[in-house]
């Protein structure tokens, strides 16, 4: 590879031909501020905050997209550069809703940070400022264009998901991000994945805050308020409290939830083990009885909605199993309520999820195992909302002791833990399928081919004389790849795992916000997933069917085997072919 030698603020570095000034600066250890830039995803040079001076270039150039040339000398911190950046920030602020004190992104806002660093005068420019109504139309997020800086990172994130329901509308100072023909977001084929909220540098796109509902339930003495946490939360929650990315904080998370006042702290991992045994049973049934193949997982509500919207003729490929969140809620309001002698109406299930689509999922039809219109899950909170509750309650998260989940739904397996990473559900299913089909306790348990952060992974296994071809995809664009293969008849897979977000739940739309320069330089998906795989390998129980809770529930409550009638009633759901644009 041809290398070019350049100097950044006098520091010599050599970078490959085609590298940008920003890449050279990062290599030299010089930080150049960015707002619109997302590596390989949004290289549009729009915000102009990254301007620098460079020899051979006319005037100021944007570091994020300007390629270096041999011998180029770059200056990132001259009076001219600082003045330009300051003016850019002051202009942005002149159309920005400056209610920073109560903004959900305060102290975690990329704009706020830069304004502080550059000492801007927030009233330097006054004048016309468009005023926008907030879009509250969806259950999963709120768009506040008054805080939007038009960096278009959300547009790029949506585009990366092959959904592209948002883009720039109008022009000039009236430019705003919105939906085609100004329909509300709820009337578009948005899959609720929330990737847009994870990349927004400001508070323009935030998850719908449901914490008030939880606070209200917690202070209602007639309710038994229980909480369950998704597999990936333990790998990410620590980031909200300044811990290194990839720190497993399961024990502190449980302790914090207990201090918030939840009656029981349960693990969605337990429900994930139910998902595996039911899903594996359904798969074997489809294989034996000529059902629709490949069967595709249904754990990810973003993916499920994507399939319903974009491939409505193929919803029969999805497993009818509820997601672990919904199975957890269903079991808590049936089996557990009965066991505790509670009226299911009085059980209030909160789940902590990596995902904004889970907020959509809790309101789906056919999600009431207890009947009487009692929803399986009452409120789904994102990791970010939980961190805010912990802060508001005055809990010093980092100082907490490690505590254990409550019994009943506290026991889980390594198979369930890895649900949080792309390929995890597949691996968990393969572990169980292998044992069920061979009748042996297979060792080692790992299926390395389906691990890793690649968008699409394929593998084939011979299990008990049967050739099984599998595929794993994460991110809706890769889901499209899988579905197009199925549509064209090229697919020869038996079983497919699809997650709506790139990298799976560890990179879900409800996970902690990391500033873009971190997202550009750290593979969040891989580092967070590692925490889960490490936990799995350290666990005694690593296969879902080994979970004693599973055995207990099937023996004493469902009174039948996997897939029996009562289990089916409790743990399965149905799908709807949806129209893309509605009024």
């Amino acid at each position: 590879m041809e290398m070019l030698n350049v100097k950044v603020n006098g520091i010599a570095v050599s970078v490959p031909k085609g590298a940008t000034i920003l890449e050279a600066a990062r290599k030299a250890g010089v930080e150049v501020p960015t707002l619109c830039y997302m590596k390989q995803k949004n290289e549009i040079g729009a915000c102009r905050i990254c301007v620098v001076e460079a020899t051979g270039a006319r005037g100021l150039v944007t570091a994020c997209v300007y390629p270096v040339t041999e011998g180029m000398e770059i200056q990132t911190n001259t009076p001219k550069v600082r003045a330009a950046r300051k003016t850019t920030l002051e202009l942005i602020l002149s159309t920005h809703d400056k209610n920073c004190l109560s903004c959900v992104r305060s102290t975690n806002c990329e704009l706020q940070k830069l304004c502080y660093e550059y000492g801007v005068d927030s009233k330097a420019f006054e004048g016309f400022k468009p005023v926008y109504e907030l879009d509250y139309s969806t259950p999963h997020l709120v768009r506040d264009n008054n805080k939007c800086i038009l960096c278009r990172r959300c547009v790029a994130a949506c585009h990366e998901q092959y959904v592209s329901v948002i883009g720039a509308n109008n022009r000039g100072i009236d430019t705003c991000i919105g939906q085609p023909f100004d329909v509300s977001l709820a009337n578009t084929p948005c899959i609720s994945c929330g990737q847009c909220t994870a990349v927004c540098p400001t508070g323009a796109l935030v998850e719908r805050d449901d914490t008030d509902k939880v606070w209200a339930a917690l202070s209602d003495s007639t309710k038994h308020v229980v909480v369950q946490t998704a597999p990936s939360i333990r790998a990410t929650l620590g980031e909200c409290f300044g811990m290194p990315i990839g720190t497993n904080v399961e024990g502190k998370m449980v302790a914090a939830l207990r201090r918030l006042g939840f009656e029981k702290i349960f693990d969605t991992d337990t429900a994930a083990d139910f998902t595996i045994v039911e899903e594996a049973t359904e798969l074997l049934d489809r294989v034996k009885n000529g059902g629709t193949l490949p069967m595709i997982t249904s754990c990810s509500p973003g993916w499920v909605k994507f399939c319903e919207l974009y491939y409505p003729d193929y919803i029969k490929h999805m497993s009818s199993c509820k997601s672990p969140q919904q199975m957890g809620g269903a079991l808590l309001k049936t089996y557990w309520a009965e066991k505790m002698g509670y009226d299911p109406k009085d059980v209030f299930v909160v789940s902590i999820m990596p995902c904004t689509a889970k907020k959509f999922e809790v309101g789906r039809e056919d999600m009431s195992a207890a009947g009487d219109g009692i929803v399986d899950v009452d409120v789904a909170l994102t990791t970010r909302e939980l961190s805010r509750m912990i802060n508001r309650a005055g809990i010093k998260f980092c100082d907490l002791p490690d505590e254990d989940f409550d019994p009943a739904f506290g026991v889980s397996t390594g198979a369930a833990v890895i649900f949080g990473a792309t390929g995890g559900v597949m691996e968990a299913a393969l572990r169980t399928a292998n044992d069920v089909l061979t009748g042996k306790d297979m060792k080692p348990v790992e299926f390395h081919e389906v691990r890793g952060t690649n968008g699409v992974k394929e593998a084939s296994y011979n299990i008990a004389g049967m050739d099984i071809k599998v595929a794993v995809a994460s991110g809706a664009a890769n889901a499209k790849y899988i579905m197009d293969k199925i549509k064209s008849g090229e697919a020869d897979w038996t079983f497919v795992e699809i997650m709506g977000c790139p990298g799976g739940c560890v990179n879900g739309g409800g996970q902690p916000i990391q500033p873009q320069h971190v997202r550009d330089t750290v593979d969040l998906k891989a580092v967070r997933a590692k925490a889960l795989y490490d936990q799995d390998s350290a666990m005694k129980l690593r296969k879902s069917h080994e979970n004693p809770v599973v055995k207990e529930v099937y023996d004493n409550y469902f009174k039948g085997s996997y897939g029996c009638k009562k289990a089916h009633h409790t743990l399965h759901t149905s799908y709807i072919a949806r129209e893309k644009y509605t009024k």
Partner: protein, 607 residues
């Protein structure tokens, strides 16, 4: 046997002054007199003298009639075409000399003041041929250049020829065309494109429209030549949907060229194939910016993208692309046929050939002119344009539209070429030339152009989206009488910021009208903020309408005309008058000027 040709302009200007009705009436008259086989009507493209449309020229005599109406047609037929007597009252023979000539002796078009100093290369066929006839284009050596290129020249020969001619891009930037082509040729790629930028958007500019309306085949021919030179087999013409006549004639021309085998596979039996498509722009000014234009062709919102990579490396659909504007292409066939030396013999040291300008504003002959580079502004305004009407004084000329600057009266002898204009803080632009007289407020003028760019900003980058708006607000503050000297400094700072920080040419050049007027007319800005006066009497908030009570005869017409009921009768009767005079309440006055324009006694003035 045809004994006479009647050429009538069918360009947009003359069409809007009803040239079509004139053509229809003429056809009807000729038929009724049985002359349809003797006299041929030819609908042409633009002659350039749009202010005097509809225009008509009758050959073989070459009599040029202007402002022809439907009612004039029977007389033209009876007198001129049947009896051979010139209709003197319609003859246009203004040679620019002080003494008007005897109208019974018509002068040839090239001797009129308007045309005398013009030299038509890009417009050579406009107003001469029927643009809807490929045969007429071929009769004017059309497609001979393409044939020559394919039969006798290598792609490198073509690029060398264009480079040697010194042709520079006529769209505004003035980048050497040959060099642009050589970059695209050098770029590796099995697929390349040629794009014609016909998204002409500067207010008042219509050079490209006229070429497309008057000589569409020249663009097709030139694009095919460019395709051969760089190795492209496909081209797009991106033209504004607001140019329906141009779109129609170009579509017809493309169809005809396909029929004649001049587009399509193996042109002239060579290995070279070229296909051409039209894409309509939806009216966004920014789509005239080359990267935004390509983004728009690709089916996306027309927004510019950062350069580098330049289109010659990564352009349309990510492929190497040459993009030139209409006028640039219009020069190509002539350069090929007549040789680069011929082209380079016109113009100045660094700007070769001719340039088309759309003359507008406070000038007698508004219209389209093509002049050799290096012609002075004085020649353009006084000789070709006929000077400023109503005996007013020339104040400045705006070139380059909203991206350009102004040339003050003190620099009227500037030889117009790319570099001279840049040197005085102006730019050639695509060729809009708006003449301003002493009644123009330069702050107001800057505001006019800035309003345009503020409205047309695509909204992608911060400096242009928000910065230009703040700039406009500062100008408004000044013209409203609320400005301070510090605001002028702020204005200048913000201008420089926007220029250096914007993503594309639109934003980078948006402050030019402000910077240029600040440079040459700073005292006018100062008058607005210090004296709170608009010297040209334009900025309403800085004006007061006053009735001279001694001149007012008390007729009361002004009070009747006033839409805001702000004019009242006083008790004062001026000496020599019978009725009491009137006065204006300045607090309520909306400054519409209705009183002033209605007063026959010169009693009202603005101060």
């Amino acid at each position: 046997m045809i004994r006479s040709h009647v050429l009538i302009c069918g360009g947009t200007g003359c069409t809007s002054s009803h040239s079509h009705e004139v053509i229809n009436k003429l056809a009807e008259e000729l038929k009724s007199k049985g002359l349809e086989d003797e006299i041929k009507i030819v609908q042409t493209g633009c002659f350039g003298l749009c202010a005097l449309g509809p225009v008509m020229i009758i050959y073989p005599e070459g009599t040029f009639y202007s402002c022809v109406t439907v009612d004039d047609v029977p007389e033209i037929v009876d007198e001129h075409l049947i009896k051979g007597r010139i209709v003197q009252r319609l003859v246009y023979n203004d040679t620019g000399d002080k003494e008007p000539l005897d109208k019974s002796v018509p002068v040839s078009l090239s001797e009129t003041g308007f045309y005398k100093k013009q030299h038509r290369v890009a417009l050579r066929n406009c107003g001469v041929i029927n643009p809807e006839s490929i045969d007429e284009y071929i009769a004017m050596d059309g497609y001979f250049a393409l044939a020559k290129v394919l039969k006798e020249m290598t792609p490198d020969d073509v690029i060398k020829c264009i480079s040697d001619s010194g042709l520079r891009g006529r769209g505004g930037g003035g980048f050497p065309t040959g060099r642009k082509w050589s970059f695209a040729k050098a770029s590796a790629g099995d697929k390349k494109y040629v794009v014609c930028n016909a998204d002409e958007g500067d207010p008042g500019a219509f050079m490209d429209r006229s070429v497309l309306e008057g000589d569409p085949h020249s663009i097709i021919e030139a694009m095919a030549i460019a395709g051969y030179a760089i190795g492209a087999d496909e081209g797009f013409v991106y033209v504004r949907a607001e140019y329906p006549i141009a779109v129609k004639r170009l579509s017809i021309a493309i169809e005809q060229a396909r029929e004649y085998g001049l587009l399509g596979k193996n042109i002239f039996g060579s290995d070279f194939s070229f296909e051409l498509h039209i894409r309509l722009g939806a009216g966004a000014f920014v789509c005239g910016e080359e990267t935004a234009l390509m983004t728009s062709i690709e089916g996306n919102r027309g927004e510019p993208r950062p350069r580098p990579p330049f289109p010659a490396v990564k352009g349309l659909f990510g492929k190497p692309t040459v993009e030139n504007n209409v006028e640039t292409f219009a020069n190509i066939p002539q350069i090929i046929l007549q040789g680069p030396e011929w082209f380079a013999s016109m113009g100045t040291a660094t700007s070769k050939g001719t340039k088309v300008f759309a003359l507008g504003g406070k000038i007698k002959h508004t219209g389209l002119v093509e002049i050799p580079m290096g012609t002075t502004l004085r020649e353009i305004i006084e000789d070709i344009g006929g000077g400023i009407p109503d005996g007013k004084k020339f104040k400045a000329a705006q070139t380059g539209g909203p991206s350009g600057g102004c040339i003050p009266a003190s620099l009227i002898d500037t030889e117009v070429d790319y570099d001279n204009l840049v040197a005085i803080g102006c730019m050639m632009g695509s060729g809009g030339l708006i003449v301003m007289d002493e009644d123009t407020c330069m702050v107001d003028m800057a505001k006019f152009f800035l309003e345009f760019t503020v409205d047309e900003s695509c909204g992608k980058c911060t400096p242009c989206r928000i910065g230009t708006r703040r700039l406009l607000e500062l100008l408004n503050k000044i013209t409203d009488g609320n400005g301070t000297l510090e605001d002028i400094d702020r204005l200048e700072e913000l201008c420089n910021y926007i220029r250096q920080n914007s993503l594309c040419g639109l934003g980078q050049t948006a402050p030019n009208p402000v910077l240029a007027t600040l440079k040459f007319f700073r005292e006018e800005y100062i008058a607005h903020v210090v004296d709170k006066k608009c010297p040209a009497g334009v900025c309403k908030n800085l004006l007061t309408y006053v009735i001279d009570q001694d001149k007012c005869i008390g007729c009361g017409k002004c009070a009747k005309n006033c839409p805001a009921d702000t004019i009242f009768k006083t008790d004062y009767v001026a000496p020599g008058h019978k009725l009491a005079s009137y006065t204006i309440d300045p607090a309520k006055c909306v400054k519409c000027g209705a009183c002033l324009s209605g007063c026959k006694f010169g009693a009202i003035s603005k101060q």
